[in-house]
């Protein structure tokens, strides 16, 4: 080809512009469709975030199949505690309406440890208005029981004062029905 230097440079400049323009066009093609519907992001990502599987149910989800526990739990002071906090996640137990796994039930010393997660007086940051706390082993001594006792030997885990109220009713310290 017999082109002057100037012309060659002009062609060079033109091809750079074309390349840049082509790049921008290519960019347009590759940007996801829902990008920019609400702002500079992919609007579909909102729908995807809304479809993330839910793993925790509610206490009512549990009560449906566990009416016995439900009856006690709903009446006790522990009614605000989520079943799943102690027993594990709903999604690990039920899928598509069928039981898929057994959730753990805490036993003996585990129960005491679990109780003291909230009820330990040593942690001063717990307001008396919010929670009743006890010091161990003083509480066992005060109640005149063996120091090896676990909490659930006196307190029902779902309704902590259930037995205690009952006992008081029997011994006449409390009127039945109150």
């Amino acid at each position: 080809m017999d082109l002057s230097y100037r012309k060659r440079l002009f062609i060079l400049l033109l091809s750079i512009c074309l390349l840049a323009g082509g790049g921008l066009l290519f960019k347009k093609l590759l940007v996801p469709k829902s990008f920019g519907v609400y702002g500079p992001y992919r609007a579909d990502a909102i729908a995807e975030a809304a479809l993330v599987p839910v793993r925790h149910g509610t206490n009512n989800s549990c009560f449906k199949c566990h009416p016995y526990e439900a009856k006690i739990h709903k009446k006790g002071l522990h009614q605000t505690i989520s079943c799943e906090s102690c027993h594990g996640t709903y999604a690990d137990h039920v899928a598509e309406g069928k039981k898929i796994g057994t959730l753990p039930v805490k036993k003996e010393k585990e129960i005491t440890t679990l109780c003291l997660k909230c009820h330990n007086t040593e942690i001063k940051a717990r307001s008396e208005e919010v929670i009743k706390t006890v010091a161990m082993p003083n509480h066992l001594k005060d109640q005149k029981v063996k120091l090896t006792h676990n909490c659930n030997q006196c307190h029902h885990v779902h309704a902590p004062l259930k037995y205690i109220i009952r006992a008081k009713q029997i011994t006449g310290l409390m009127e039945a029905g109150s």
């Binding site: 995807e48 906090s85 996640t89 001063k124």
Partner: protein
């Protein structure tokens, strides 16, 4: 009609389809009482929503249930935290001692043994995403993977995130982390998928003392609306950052950062 289209929409997604069946659980016709009124089974107007989260520091007992629930809800990898609970201890010398072993996941079983002075004040502070109205993480994300949805949630598009970690640097609350396997940024979403179904965020739902409160600001009967409308003093974290969080604290001392 609206309800039908909603169900149809949900059933279209395979995961969500199974979810819908699971979630009223136990068979036909049994509905769980909705936790956030006005969402379940109704069409969700994304452009007309506002939510608020209130943490009541005076009610938190540091049991760690929220942290455990959060970890279970999302299978959060060890060493990373969408939410965590800090323990503050203030001595009479005005010295502040803060700790959060394992993010409070194991609860607080023992008092701190390394403090010599007399303690004046001690309390727990749960932390999570502040859902800033002027979110620094959204501002800095170079690819638009972190964004503020029209209903006010800061979400992460895991399909577009490049894992540069700029948002981790920009978040004044350190609420973000890089998922060690997915290599994308993650953070607390206030359980967006639950809210969209009318359920409370997992941490709010399991909180035994109602230290965490969540609700719609469009619903004048909601607890958060009443609290925010009322005269009580609410604070936000790191106000000087100009982030305008939608997460409010009740009873947080000024030492809380």
């Amino acid at each position: 009609m609206k309800r039908r289209s909603f169900i149809k929409k949900v059933l279209n997604g395979t995961i969500a389809g199974s979810l819908y069946l699971v979630w009223p659980m136990g068979g036909e016709g049994i509905q769980i009482p909705e936790q956030i009124p006005g969402i379940m089974g109704k069409e969700y107007d994304i452009l007309n929503q506002e939510f608020a989260f209130i943490v009541d520091v005076t009610r938190c007992i540091g049991c760690g249930s929220c942290c455990v629930a959060d970890k279970r809800e999302y299978n959060v990898p060890d060493g990373n935290y969408r939410t965590w609970v800090e323990r503050y201890v203030k001595g009479f010398s005005d010295k502040i001692y803060v700790d959060s072993p394992n993010g409070g996941l194991d609860g607080y079983q023992h008092p701190r043994k390394d403090i010599d002075e007399k303690i004046r004040d001690t309390f727990f502070v749960p932390k999570l995403c502040n859902m800033c109205k002027e979110a620094p993480c959204v501002q800095v994300c170079p690819v638009g993977a972190t964004f503020k949805s029209p209903d006010g949630f800061i979400l992460v598009d895991e399909k577009r995130c490049v894992g540069c970690a700029y948002c981790l640097q920009a978040c004044p609350y350190s609420a973000r982390f890089l998922h060690p396997d997915k290599k994308v940024a993650q953070k607390c979403t206030w359980c967006y998928q639950r809210v969209r179904k009318g359920l409370l965020p997992a941490c709010v739902q399991v909180c035994p003392t109602k230290a965490r409160k969540f609700g719609s600001m469009k619903d004048e009967t909601s607890e958060v609306y009443k609290i925010l409308k009322g005269p009580g003093v609410l604070t936000v974290l790191k106000k000087e950052m100009g982030t305008f969080p939608a997460l409010y604290y009740k009873g947080a001392r000024r030492e809380v950062i």
